[in-house]
Symmetry: C2
Subunit: 342 residues, 2 copies
Amino acid sequence: MSIKKVARIAGVSTATVSRYLNSPEQVKENTRSKVQSAIDEVGYAPNALARNFRRGKTSLVVVVLPQVGDPFLDNVMRGIWRVADEQGYSILIRDTQSNSHDFDEFTEMVFSKQADGILLLASISPFSEPEAKRSREKAHPPLVLGLESVTTELNHFPSVRVDNVAAAADGTQYLIQLGHERIGFIAGKPDSLLTHDREKGYRKAMRKAKLKVENGWVVEGEQTIDGARRATRRLLAHKQRPTAIFCANDEMALGTVHEIKNAGLRVPEDISVVGFDDIRYAEVMDPPLTTIAQPAEEIGERTMRRLVQAIDGGALDKDTDTSPEIVPHKLIVRKSTGNAPR
Amino acid sequence: MSIKKVARIAGVSTATVSRYLNSPEQVKENTRSKVQSAIDEVGYAPNALARNFRRGKTSLVVVVLPQVGDPFLDNVMRGIWRVADEQGYSILIRDTQSNSHDFDEFTEMVFSKQADGILLLASISPFSEPEAKRSREKAHPPLVLGLESVTTELNHFPSVRVDNVAAAADGTQYLIQLGHERIGFIAGKPDSLLTHDREKGYRKAMRKAKLKVENGWVVEGEQTIDGARRATRRLLAHKQRPTAIFCANDEMALGTVHEIKNAGLRVPEDISVVGFDDIRYAEVMDPPLTTIAQPAEEIGERTMRRLVQAIDGGALDKDTDTSPEIVPHKLIVRKSTGNAPR
DNA sequence: TTGTAAGCGTTATCAT
DNA sequence: ATGATAACGCTTACAA
């Protein structure tokens, strides 16, 4: 009822008030000030609920990420927010860690107009059956993938990320070049495409260098510090103990380095460690961590931009430019890597 | 138009469909199945925008925090989400770091129905003038404070936090008990009430032990690793170099320990370090960090519960139970602290 | 430049 | 147990 009240007080119609709010240039100067006074007088604030309803738009975007409090996401989110603010979107965050969410839940949010689009920064369970059925009738919701590689069913959505395979190969290659031949790999969770790709890169580099990947050299670190510590212990106990360990991300590298030192070994003299992400803690670790940096903020910015595009342009067809945007990675050499022992 | 379509297909009125959706028990079994079939047939999903509009409720809550990617907030958010999911709220996150936000902006979000309430986990600029004016006419929005101490203008809102003064005093007291007499303090940003309180606790403990706080022993660390590194360098260069440093949070402690070791000194043999928060990295630091733990998840849960209460119970009066809920803190002793040298 | 009025999809009131 | 219908606050043709 509020715009009506303003209109009444200003002595104009509701349409004029609305116009004043949305395109003031269409309103005569004189009227403008009358309306503004009325607004001030009653302390009017437009009801976003009504406006969004009318417009059929939530101006909300869901960002799905593995875990808030992941230092790496900090910069990604910064990029996302920059664009969101600029484009008038608010960010709804869902993490896949505290509650188990599945893909349908997010598409459902769009279909039921709780959000206009989805920014997927985490691996999640694939479409369930009912959804598969629906997708025949409904268009795909506006959805963009960031960071992660994709499962086949998500292939049709735009995505922005580094080339995880190549990046991990680079990291591994760097270790090889330092003379390491026994290199272990600490992977993430089995359902994480991302770390899967990194593992692929590791294996690729090993193969290329004609190095064998022994059974037990690739172990799951569960994307957590504790998981990485357990994984590291297994690696250290291996009869062919690696002289270098590649961790699928920095978070796990933190645990790995800790556990190596715990075992009375030195980094990098006894074992070299490489991480992935270049989180802000990497630099102040002891020793500072050699890792692979991603342009996090840029990734955030670009994913969000594509998403806005997808939202504005309506649901995108299966055959809209669908190739992933690949952004450059960069090996950052610090002190956690050194020549192979002996 | 959609509920209409369902109604038409099911051969019932829109009212019945609505009832089926919201209180199925009021609908006869027979009708229920007719409606459900119709829903399945057209793939109907209720329009949340319309529903919220009609109900005058967004079912959204803004959580304002200093920085996503703060590992400490991870657990707080977990607690918030648990309650949010349970109560049917979605979480809108705003960080005060990437964009400068002020208090009005958030109250405005409530007044303009972009959100139902505010969960404030960060220090922000105080009310601006126009808001002060408005607050006379409008009730305060549902708002709950977590973690932080409050400025006087926010005094009337419920809050949940540890007793930062007492906690910091405990940490300081522990150092004193180890024989330290020259103890430095690395504070946060000047506008952070939270670290301000911690500083107060530190000073209190020093005073109580009749220890002097030399000029230059309290230095700002800006709540960042780099800030803490600079602060630490200043501390190390002090003519009366402290034998122990209390950092207002773990994030800064990370930088502090790094910088101490950089300078060729040992922790804790030369300098002891205490942090605050017990983030997950504290345990795997080298040496593992002595710190003060807060029940983060519980704080999240309780703040969110109070907020829901405030939303449901309508805007709370100035004189609703307004005393902060204090949750217990706990000193976690690890290896970064030791007896004072000599 | 401004006003009139229809309509967005739901819920809720009041009958039936 | 169900139906008819007003109302929520706003935007937008269309008319003036």
